[in-house]
Symmetry: C2
Subunit: 330 residues, 2 copies
């Protein structure tokens, strides 16, 4: 489809997104002059200085979560024309919100585009750990079944007390799904949620002590870094299971690996790690751990939803309309 | 707990159960004289003849599904004292119901003891196939993540049309769980179920043609053998996924493997196979297939529930009370 004829050149947009996604790129380039950091091959400061020197410097940036540059004071100093940062993830731990607020830079994120997919993945990993699906998979593929003796039993979902850390959009969707399996839902969040009937805990430690399963579904910030620490793992106990679809650094990974090695917790399902793509090698030989490569958001449906949602936010920004999924107002 | 003092010796029970389960065995032996076929090491006919020659020949048999002897005319001829056969599985395809009915032998099964666990496993395998959990697991464990380029996208659960073959207890529990993920539920059964709002299909072929996912959740009998055949697989089509937690022979396995090899369906999650414990070796290299070793019922909770349920049925039989989960009345 041809763009409508316009008098002015299309606005410039900074892009920080390493993974290839041809449809996403095409949709952006159809509407904007895209200044692509990873394609430029330039050091960050040079790239930003070049953009700032343009006659029509970029007012918006699209930044992927996780692997890209951090949008901090130095970044914002080097790109003084920026008025809007869009994060293609739900997490905004790569964006210094305080600095953005101070400068009047609006921030929006992927909102709920990924929430159902992340919740599905969390539930899938929990079933997998409890019912030993991936372990059975390895067993069958290795050809061991015909020679088997006894196979270790799994554990039932129904009746399990699942403590969710962070009952936002994703956490709520996880709870809704697990209710259908007969799980009992508890949660921790900064404040008790009002219309929610699940039992609330004001301390993660107490939540862990009362739960069979802990699901980490919170954002990463200074308050939630290592929110699952040695004490929480100990409170969860040797029959406990931890699922993490938040951020790797929500858990003290060294302590988690140690507890798994020493049998002080029963298992874990991990989509995120503290130093991605590095995964502690000790985990590779553990049958009670299920690991995926930060793919909880990875479906073709959510990718096309994200593309539409990103464009919709940029269009709103450039036409002065309200942003769809505001994290910080300008 | 000690048994109550009794005048007569405890009744004899035939046991056909290969897997060790110390608590199950102890519970049986505490109440009955257990004649254990697999422990005897005898050929079946000798074992049955020996039991029949006892002064107090066995009136009840406990028979595991799947791997044990078939309870057919020859079996029943050799054990004329039998009046009750209890199947420790939900499936009774290893019991010739017609012969049992003709001789007035009652048959009961595990009833709904396993249903929730089987439904959970089915949903776990579906998430696993759609979201590539086991494939991602292999990827991470192989250490490939740090060197990765693009990783293949999964597919969203929400909105998927899931066609369930057999809307009994297990099928209904699968449906209930998948509704919480936003799936659309269709079903096939011999007759339309009355209080059910899911769309009914009177033909498996038509169900497959309208579905993204087929879940096999029916019993195995002459009508359901190869109920998923070449035509059904073709109707499901190249984006379709098949989950089987019924019996291996519900699917024409040769055709299924061929369709997977040729990309005529998108993937499969299989807990059961036609010639267990043999699994077609072609499947071992497929990333779009999730295989487990007939463990959908394997949880410690369902095992202890089964123990209680077996004893309760035997106690009812020996005291002349109604059986709890009758398949065939005497």
């Amino acid at each position: 489809m041809a763009s409508p004829a316009v008098e002015e050149p299309p606005p410039a947009v900074l892009l920080f997104r390493r993974r290839l996604d041809a449809a996403f790129d095409a949709a952006l380039r159809q509407r904007y002059r895209v200044l692509d950091f990873f394609a430029s091959g330039e050091p960050l400061q040079d790239f930003l200085a070049g953009a700032a020197a343009l006659p029509d410097p970029p007012r918006a940036a699209v930044v992927v979560g996780g692997f890209a540059a951090r949008v901090d004071a130095a970044f914002l100093d080097a790109a003084p024309s920026l008025a809007f940062v869009f994060s293609t993830g739900a997490g905004v731990d790569h964006i210094d919100l305080r600095e953005c607020a101070r400068r009047g830079v609006a921030v929006a994120n992927s909102g709920t585009v990924y929430s159902a997919d992340v919740a599905d993945h969390a539930v899938g990993m929990l079933i997998d750990v409890l019912r030993r699906v991936s372990a059975a998979e390895r067993f069958v593929r290795s050809g061991l079944w015909p020679a088997q003796g006894e196979y270790p039993l799994g554990s039932k979902l129904g009746g399990k007390r699942v403590g969710i850390i962070g009952l936002g959009n994703i956490g709520s969707l996880i709870a809704k799904r697990l209710e259908a399996f007969g799980c009992v839902i508890y949660y921790y969040s900064r404040k008790q949620k009002d219309p929610v009937s699940y039992k609330y805990f004001s301390s993660v430690h107490d939540l862990a002590a009362e739960s069979d399963v802990l699901v980490v579904a919170c954002a990463l910030n200074k308050d939630t870094r290592h929110i699952v620490n040695k004490d929480v793992i100990e409170a969860l106990g040797k029959d406990g299971i931890i699922i993490n679809i938040g951020r790797g650094a929500n858990i003290d990974e060294v302590e988690l690996v140690r507890a798994l090695k020493e049998g002080r917790i029963a298992g874990a399902g991990l989509d995120v790690f503290e130093n991605e793509p590095k995964v502690p090698a000790e985990l590779f030989s553990m049958d009670n751990v299920v690991m995926t490569n930060h793919v909880a958001v990875f479906t073709s449906e959510s990718r096309s939803d994200l593309r539409d949602h990103t464009i919709a936010n940029l269009e709103a920004f450039f036409s002065g309309k309200p942003l769809l999924t505001l994290v910080l107002p300008w």
